[in-house]
Symmetry: C2
Subunit: 200 residues, 2 copies
């Protein structure tokens, strides 16, 4: 499959998921919450379907059936050959991402929609996990010579460009979640102090 077909299917199905979430949860929630739910649905499915396939398909590179998921990873390996080479650090990070962070991301969609008390702490935990994964991913490549891309185009578009979103967005979400959790804690503290002052 060509790069454009792979990207069209990925972006098309992502757009479908995002639209579905946007319109399904459209009534009660704020614009920002809807946007966050779209992100969590998109990233959760990417983790579970795409990255899950990679983790549990050690022979994807030999697949000749034009299976879409195998084609994705053959294409992505042009930006990072450690995927084709089954590098253990890459499999460890992708495994944690697919098995723990994928389902947790979908739980975040539900938590935001229902206004659960664990909504911010869950979003923080998954975002920090994504950031930790990206750190291990980039540091191991750097330590091993940072020479795993076929050429500069694949290096900047796949290795840097595609992964950059999973640095930027988790950074923003973890910052916001952290602030929200601290604000709630501050409110409770202030109220407790006021009560104490009232009782002489």
């Amino acid at each position: 499959m060509s790069m454009s077909s792979i990207l069209t299917v990925y972006l098309g199905s992502s757009l479908f998921v995002v639209s579905l979430v946007w319109f399904l949860f459209g009534r009660k929630n704020s614009q920002l919450d809807k946007l966050l739910m779209c992100w969590w649905a998109f990233t959760g499915l990417t983790h579970m379907v795409l990255e899950g396939y990679f983790v549990f398909s050690p022979e994807f590179f030999k697949d000749n059936t034009s299976c879409y998921l195998a084609e994705v990873w053959k294409e992505y390996s042009k930006g990072d050959s450690r995927y084709a080479g089954r590098d253990s650090a890459v499999i460890a990070v992708e495994g944690i991402t697919a098995v723990i962070e994928g389902p947790a991301s979908l739980l975040a969609v539900y938590a935001i929609a229902k206004g659960k008390s664990y909504s911010y702490v869950l979003q923080l935990a998954v975002s920090l996990g994504q950031l930790y994964g990206c750190l291990v991913y980039f540091i191991t490549a750097f330590l091993e010579g940072d020479n795993f891309a076929t050429n500069a185009f694949y290096y900047y578009s796949y290795y840097i460009g595609a992964n950059g979103w999973w640095v930027l967005i988790p950074l923003l979400i973890s910052y916001r979640s952290w602030i929200k959790i601290c604000e709630t804690s501050d409110n409770v503290d202030t109220k407790t102090q006021k009560k104490k002052k009232k009782i002489p």
Copy 2:
């Protein structure tokens, strides 16, 4: 240096740090908070001093000066030869632990002592980081054959035994911090709902 001398220095200096924290912050804080502060001081200094030395001393294995920190890692390498072999996944995890989690652990001591609003969220973040690090550490070893110890004694005492504490304690702390954060959020929600009901 012999194994017993290395352990004596490590346990002795850890006991000194723990006692110092216990008696310095003894008055205002609960027993559990004091215990947590002891843990964060101990783990923070272990991350920064011991693991920091490993990360930034690629030639520790050649050190002939009987430097204590080099001796620690020569000894620990008997339980996991990837340390002597400068495995990139190990360096990445140890680097994140030493540079980010070490100082963050010491900040947790301060946050608990001063009752800061970010106390639980910080403890959760660092504990989850420690757990993620342990997962990457154990999964990469497993994927590469789990055959890095000199013998079964070093495997179970160093590789499993020593690291086991950094799985067990972060698990307990992250569970507690998560529950505390959710309780606070629940309290605020209940109060907001009560206020809304009062206003017709």
